[in-house]
Subunit: 143 residues, 3 copies
Amino acid sequence: MTDLVNDPAFRSYAVCSAILAVKMLFSGTYTSVMRIRNKGFVNPEDATAFGAAASNEVEHPAVAHALRIQRNDGENIPLFFAIGLIYVLNGATPFGAAVYSWTFTIARLLHTVAYTYHLQPWRALSYGVGYACLLGMALQIIF
Amino acid sequence: MTDLVNDPAFRSYAVCSAILAVKMLFSGTYTSVMRIRNKGFVNPEDATAFGAAASNEVEHPAVAHALRIQRNDGENIPLFFAIGLIYVLNGATPFGAAVYSWTFTIARLLHTVAYTYHLQPWRALSYGVGYACLLGMALQIIF
Amino acid sequence: MTDLVNDPAFRSYAVCSAILAVKMLFSGTYTSVMRIRNKGFVNPEDATAFGAAASNEVEHPAVAHALRIQRNDGENIPLFFAIGLIYVLNGATPFGAAVYSWTFTIARLLHTVAYTYHLQPWRALSYGVGYACLLGMALQIIF
């Protein structure tokens, strides 16, 4: 696979995917922090561990908000993992791969910031840019 | 990677993955449409933008329905992205890759239609066909 | 792609991914079983099929618990699918790939057992081990 390691198109995809993966891991930690800070536990064993009141099946608003950030990532970033790789393996130019990968990655990082701080229309805008990157790559693969 | 671009097994996987990615993007848009049409917002900043009443943390039934379609996709299609690729990279025949990829893709497209229009047992059936494709490929990789 | 099929680093990644995929499929089935056993349906068409009372939009606690297991997998395992593959394609040693892949896979299998039987701190511990594997691979890709 030496040809792939030295392919700058693959390199853009690889580094961006790793950055996005780290971001998703940190988003999971953010949810845990919100859970602990607000004593918002739904698993009884967790409520006990943190001396919180009995939990119920409705999430604390701050936890639900954090989970929506994760859910939105979960609906978009795995598409980049798959479609970005196929796009590169299909023989993308280094320029095309870099533009798509970095645009998508920066848009998704800004989306998290905008979602966390309730910044509209920035959240919708950054979502739209990421969406357009995925749609563009997918359509280029199909046609 | 020229050998991969010209591999018909990879081609089936690539085109089907791109179709499924577009479908998932459209499902996200469907959820947004349901949200706007029913004024079912959980983010206060979105409720304000669309002049809706104060949101709460329980989703509108039509939005919850749309989110379940997305969640079911999210539990199945990323498995195809990963397992389908490994199956092809493991040296699948063009015929095997085409049968698995297209059967899975058509089953998942039908699943969305069946879920949207509340059509049982078609939803369960199309889910089962997709499940069988994933299980078949995964077991072939292991053994 | 014959070089990849014979690469022991890719082989570790491939077998572990397939095992994790089968686990995720079984977790989906576990949720369905919990749904049927507790008559906890949110789709009216499913409630009718199983002669259950009219459903509402709040999940039965046992179903919500099963869905949380799936959600936690969904936030972590697709990251392994992507990052594990990039790690291998970047020229991982067979030893490094085997250690990361099997540690992650065993940690995630134990996580499911711990979550199912409400075993803390084992759930948190197995989550942390999987998290560390993903973070380690991602950082090695970036730097």
